[in-house]
Structures are given as C-alpha cells and as structure tokens.
C-alpha cells in the first residue's frame, strides 16, 4: 500500500521534524484507566509543556503569548499530533473556539488576562450557547443579563455544555435587550464558572460518559469589563466563535487509528477472514475513497488558507462530510464484524473501542451545528440560495413565545 507522504504538504520540513521529535519525547501516552483528577492533572502538565516548547497557540499573535506562525506550521503540528493520543480534550473548547474569539474581539485587558493562562493549561474554558429551547436556533435563547451599576446580573439555564465540569471560565451568550429582534438583543460575556450562583450538573451522554453538563445561573454577577465584543453585539461574537468552531471541528485530525477509519476496518476484515469477500472489498474501497477525499479536501483548504484564502463557510463542508463519513464507516463495521460488533469477549478491548465509536458517532452530526444546519449554511452562504421565510425577523424578542412563535394577543 502506498501512503502519501504528508510532509510534502508543508514548506516546513524542519519544523515538522522538530515537532515529531518533541512529541516522541513528551507525549504522555494513553491516560485511559487513570482516575479523572489524575487525568486532568496530567493534561494540564502536558498543555504547559506544549506552551513552554512553543507549540501552543501556533497561529495566535506573539503579543498574546502565541507563536505568530502560519497555517503551514499549524498543519505540520496537527499532522504529527494525529500520530499520538494527546490529552488535549479539556482545552479543546478554549483553544479552538473561545481563545480565538478573545484574540479577535477581546479588549487589550482581556487578552492580557485570559489568553496566556489558557495557552498554559492553567485555566479551562467552556462555551455556553445552547439552551433547552435554543439549540440550532441559538438566537432564541432566554438567559437574561441585566445591567446593575458596574455589573451585569445573569440568570438562566444552559445545556450540553462540554467541559463545564472543570471549566474556570465560560463564554456565555445572554439576552440583554428583549425589546429588540432576537439576533439584535444579545451580548457575549466572559463568566467566571466559580462565581456564586453558577451550578454545573453533569449530563450523561449516550455513550454513558458525562462530557457535557447543564449549567444554571442564579443572579450571577459579571463585571462590566467582561463583555466580549460589543453590548448588543452578541450575535456577531457568536458567529465569530462558530466560525472558529466549524474550522476547529472540521479540520481536527482524529488520531489515525480510530476504530472507524479505513485502516482499522481493513485490519478487522483481515482478522475476520472476510477481506476476500467482494462485497466487503467493494465497501471498504468506497469507504477509503471518501475518507481520503475528505483528507485531501482538508489539506487543500489548509493550503488555500495559508495562501491567503480563508475557508469561511466551507468549514461546514468539512464538518458535514466528517459526520457522514462516520455513518458510512459504521455500516462497513457491521459488514466486516457481523455479530462481533454487538457481542465480544470481555478481554477484547478492541470490541469496547468499536462499540464506543459506534455509540459516539451521532454526536458529530449534532454538536457544533447539525448536519441539516450545515447544509443550510452551505446552501445559503456558499451557493447563495434563498433563505427560508422567517416568521421571527424584525419582531421584538419579547413578543415571541418559545423563541420563535409570536405570542397570542401581542402587537
């Protein structure tokens, strides 16, 4: 089997060699099986080591503690990182979404205060957008912040908040002016997750793990200097962050040997002796074609970004394709493994890994914007197709019920 030498993608072979050597010496290996506290401690240690070695915030400006390097270096790092199982999960939201938004929209004081500790793994962030009644339609959220002297008072409930269980800060989106239409009356704040009135309750996801949470805000005080962006400019801030989110989700390199990748499934097919079955071979080849096409599209978009053409809404293509690829892979996994995919010897950890991957797959079709929402974005923002009629445009939020319906008897 020929494998493309990804080093050819980047004009920075020396940088890549240095990354490779550093990771080989410092990657801590799998933390599976360790107690949660210990995992978090080791994760923080590793993030700090990354920072000290100059591999945190590679594309962030030097003035905020980043490296001020380009996409080529970021790409080289991501490629090399994909060879390891790095414990970077706790910092994913801060590094991929909140941090870049503070870089873009933060005041100098905010950048000074928050970015370095984030890069060093000292402070963990979460993103508090979704609410029970406002997921895809984030702008219909109900959480309220009211100005009271030199502080804002926040009340409301958020849900599915990834990493809130160990977050120190959150980027929270709240309604600050219910008299304006729903997109116009929002403001983004930096909230201290340890402040009085913040309650975090773990939620179990369908894999049985609890990576996300419900978060309640009861009269939580937020200093005025913690507005991120403009008062009333929350939607712009959210769109900025969602742009970073799509790119960071869409272009994240999964560890190469995830159980739903072609190579792993081909190995399973060999082990099960079904690799000569023409149907299995046909489906595996098709799976490879889609997997490789997505990898090549990722490389191409990164090369274009490096050449000065940012991906914009095309991040949605990557995100959507990644989610669809998992569905395809699960079908092939069933074909390859048959009954072994549903029952296996308890000593066979690869059975557990496959089961976890199958059970976790739906999250990629929902989190960070559902497949349907990604298709809307592609259709409207890239292809310029007409938007759907909106019943709630230009209507003051307080006249809307459940976020989207005009209340009876108003107007």
């Amino acid at each position: 089997m020929t494998v493309v030498d990804e080093t050819q993608e980047t004009p920075t072979p020396e940088y890549r060699r240095a990354v490779r050597a550093w990771l080989a010496a410092h990657a801590p290996g799998s933390l599976a099986g360790l107690p949660a506290d210990e995992q978090l401690r080791r994760s923080r240690e590793f993030q700090a080591a990354l920072y000290d070695a100059g591999y945190a915030g590679i594309t962030w400006p030097e003035s905020v503690g980043g490296q001020g390097l380009g996409q080529a270096e970021q790409q080289a790092f991501s490629d090399e990182a994909a060879e390891h199982e790095l414990p970077l999960y706790p910092f994913m939201i801060g590094m991929g979404m909140c941090g870049p938004t503070v870089v873009d929209l933060g005041t100098d004081a905010q950048r000074d205060r928050y970015l370095r500790p984030l890069l060093r793994g000292e402070e963990i962030w979460c993103q508090l957008f979704s609410e029970p009644g406002a997921g895809s339609d984030v702008a219909s959220l109900q959480s309220r912040a009211v100005l009271d002297g030199d502080r804002w008072i926040l009340n409301g409930q958020k849900v599915w908040t990834t990493n809130a269980q160990f977050a120190d800060f959150g980027a929270v989106l709240a309604r600050t002016d219910p008299d304006r239409p729903k997109h116009a009356g929002l403001t983004m704040f930096i909230v201290d997750m340890h402040a009085p009135g913040v309650t975090v309750r773990p939620l179990k996801d369908m894999t049985g793990r609890s990576p996300f949470n419900e978060v309640y805000f009861d009269d939580v005080e937020i200093p005025v200097e913690n507005v991120l962006g403009e008062i009333g400019g929350g939607w712009h801030a959210a769109v900025t962050m969602l742009g970073h989110e799509r790119v960071s989700i869409g272009s994240a390199r999964r560890p190469r040997r995830s159980p739903l990748e072609f190579t792993s499934l081909a190995e399973r097919a060999r082990a099960a002796g079904v690799d000569t079955d023409p149907v299995v071979r046909d489906r595996l080849a098709e799976l490879y074609a889609h997997e490789r096409a997505l990898a090549l599209l990722n490389s191409r978009i990164r090369q274009e970004t490096a050449a000065g053409r940012p991906p914009g809404a095309r991040g949605s293509v990557l995100k959507l394709a990644g989610a669809l690829q998992l569905r395809r892979a699960i079908e092939v996994a069933g074909l390859v493994s048959g009954a072994d995919a549903i029952a296996w010897d308890p000593s066979d950890t690869s059975g557990d890994e496959l089961a976890l991957a199958i059970n976790a797959a739906p999250s990629s079709s929902i989190a960070g914007g559902t497949n349907e929402v990604q298709r809307n974005i592609i259709g409207e923002r890239i292809l310029g197709l007409p938007k759907e009629p909106q019943v709630d445009r230009d209507v003051p939020f307080r006249e809307l019920a459940v976020g989207t319906q005009r209340r009876e008897g108003t107007r």
């Binding site: 020929t2 081909a266 046909d282 080849a285 490789r292 599209l297 490389s299 990604q374 298709r375 197709l385």
Partner: protein
C-alpha cells in the same frame, strides 16, 4: 503535495473557459452533434492554437512541456462546457500511450502532429464489456516477413470512427504488444456505435489482416497501466468540470423558479440536495488535483490516486447530473434544456474506463486488500 493551482494554471483555465464560451456555447454544441465528425473542427483547431492539445508533450516534440496539472484544468473546462472534441482520445490516450512506450521514431513522428491537432489519435484496447484487457484480448498480431498484421475487434473505441492514428494493444506469440494502425489502413472497418452520450463518439473497429506497425515497448502491459491511470485522472477532471457547471445551472434555476410562493431553492429538500452536490464537488476537486499532482510528481502514488479519482468522481458526477434534472422538474426532462446532456455525459463517463465497481475493486487491490 500542492493542491492549490498557481496563477499560471488559473490563467490557462480562464483562457480556455473564455475560448469555449465564445466558440463552443451550448447552441453550438448541439448544432454539431448530428453531423460529421460529431465535433466542431474550428473548436479543435482553436484548442490546438491555444497549445492545449500537447500540454504533456515535451517541447522538443512540439508540445507545451507542461504537465498533468495543466492538462487536468483543460479537461475540467471541456467537461464544464460538455465540449464534443476528441481530446480524451487524442490529447490524452494516444499521447500518453506514445509517451509510455519506448518507440523513439514513433514518438518523433506522431507526437508533434498530435500536439498540433492535425492528427487525431486514439487507443484501442477494450473488447467485450468495455474492460481493458492487459493481454491484448482476442485481437491477434502476426508477423510475416517482418510485416505485422492485426485481426480482431476492438470496441468501444473513443473517436474510433475518425481517428487518423489508432494505437492497438494486441496479442502476439510473445505476449501483448502495441501497434500503430493508420485510420485509412486496408482491412480496417470502422463502425460508429449508437451511444448513450451524444457528445462523445465511440466506434467498433474490425481488423482483418490489417497492416500495423509494431511499437517498441519494454513492458507493454505496464505501459497500458500507466495509460489507464492517466486517462482516469483526465476523465475525473472532466467529471468535476461537469459537476461544477451542473450545480451552477441548478442553483441559478432554484433561485429563479417559484412554486407555492417561494423560490424552490428556499425549500430544504432542494437546498440540501444542492449542498450535498457542492460538498461532493469540493471533495472531487481535491481528489483530482491530488491525482494530477501525483501524475506529475509522484508516479508511485499514481495507481492509488487514479483509482481513487475514478471511484470518487464517477458516481459523484452522475449524482450531480441527476440532481440537475430533478431540480429542473419537467423543464429538466425536456429535450430543449441541456440537463439531459449533462446526465448522459455523466452516466457514460462513469462507465467509460470501466465500471464504478471495477474501479473500487482496483482500488481495493492497490491498497493491498
């Protein structure tokens, strides 16, 4: 690996697009389909004048000395415009075959003429079922007094009815061999086939003790493999061009056509279908650029890259064309509209170099499965 074309390549694309827009718009494409030779000689000579027929031919042989990246861009534009022209037969198959063989005199004789378009070449390999047989199939080549003769049937052959130079893979006593046959040779019967795709002519060629010139080749079967891989790349490029244009026209229509008081493109069934085609097109472009890059810079990677290109783009382009017909409704099913030309070209291209299942089987094999 470079997946972003440089400005020279983009200029080439713009020039070809401009030329085809001027000289080969849809009305002109339709006008030439029924006559002979089934394409527009003025377009062919115009392409030759732009220097795009010999892009992969070395300069000393009258070519452009460029590469597959450049040729893929031209193929993409020809696919976008559905241009009927023997480009794939002559500038791709015949040219690549001469370059893959080891016959210096034949190269010197034919390549300059192929590059100027004065000579149209093609390759005749397929026999039953359209699959390419590395053994030469049932077409036999026999030598008497140092003169070779071919007997057998090759079908379907691209531009086989008009090509002046036919490069044939035939079976000799010592295994497969390559032969050059003059389009006007005695004992050669050329029968135009009925085709699904009216924009691309195919013919059956019957050889009956037809005189042929044996072409030197150290490894004729390996040369065929290279020719097939490079053709897969060029065809995939054409397919991405087709997808892009089909989507553009569909989006345009979905924006204008109103039903139930709304443009149809505001309905998610339509919008999401278009989004999926767009997504597939972005993938296809990446796959094709990678394959063209491999053809120029990493021949060890080419077999996988080429099989990948056909595995991905063939079905994707047909899906795009099907969506085009569907979202144009009755208009799309009407002869006057171009949608059916996209549909037929896409279906035919999907099968032209072997079935999608065949490409997937090749890919599996090349991946070491």
């Amino acid at each position: 690996m470079t997946l972003v074309p440089d400005s020279e390549v983009e200029e080439l694309r713009a020039a070809v697009r401009r030329f085809l827009g001027d000289k080969a718009p849809s009305e002109r494409v339709r006008a030439v389909l029924d006559g002979d030779p089934g394409h527009d000689p003025a377009v062919w000579s115009g392409l030759a004048a732009q220097g795009v027929l010999g892009l992969v031919v070395p300069e000393e042989l009258g070519g452009g000395g460029a590469g597959h990246v450049e040729r893929a861009v031209v193929a993409e534009e020809l696919g976008r415009a559905l241009t009927p022209a023997p480009f794939l037969a002559s500038a791709v198959l015949a040219t690549d075959a001469l370059l893959a063989l080891d016959d210096e005199p034949a190269r010197a004789e034919f390549l300059p003429r192929l590059a100027t378009g004065e000579l149209v070449g093609t390759v005749a390999v397929a026999e039953c079922g359209g699959e390419w047989d590395r053994t030469g199939g049932r077409t036999t080549a026999t030598a008497a007094d140092g003169r070779w003769e071919l007997t057998g049937v090759k079908t379907p052959v691209l531009a086989g009815d008009t090509a002046g130079l036919v490069l044939v893979l035939a079976r000799t006593a010592d295994g497969p061999g390559w032969f050059a046959v003059d389009g006007a040779a005695p004992g050669l019967t050329r029968e135009r086939l009925s085709t699904l795709d009216p924009t691309r002519r195919l013919a059956a060629l019957r050889f009956d003790a037809t005189p042929a010139r044996h072409l030197a080749s150290a490894d004729p079967a390996a040369a065929l493999g290279t020719v097939a891989d490079l053709a897969a790349v060029a065809l995939a490029a054409e397919q991405t061009g087709l997808m892009q244009r089909a989507l553009e026209l569909t989006v345009e229509y979905a924006t204008l056509r109103v039903q139930f008081g709304r443009p149809i493109g505001s309905y998610q069934a339509v919008k999401h279908g278009c989004a999926d085609v767009y997504s597939a097109w972005e993938h296809a472009v990446s796959v094709v650029r990678h394959a063209a890059w491999a053809a120029d810079h990493d021949r060890a990677e080419l077999p996988v890259a080429a099989a990948l290109a056909q595995t991905y783009t063939g079905p994707a382009a047909f899906t795009a064309a099907t969506a085009m017909v569907q979202y144009h409704g009755g208009v799309g099913y009407t002869w006057e509209h171009d949608a059916h030309l996209f549909y037929k070209r896409a279906k035919s291209a999907e099968q032209l170099l072997g079935s999608p299942a065949g490409h997937r089987a090749r890919l599996a094999e090349r991946l070491g499965l």
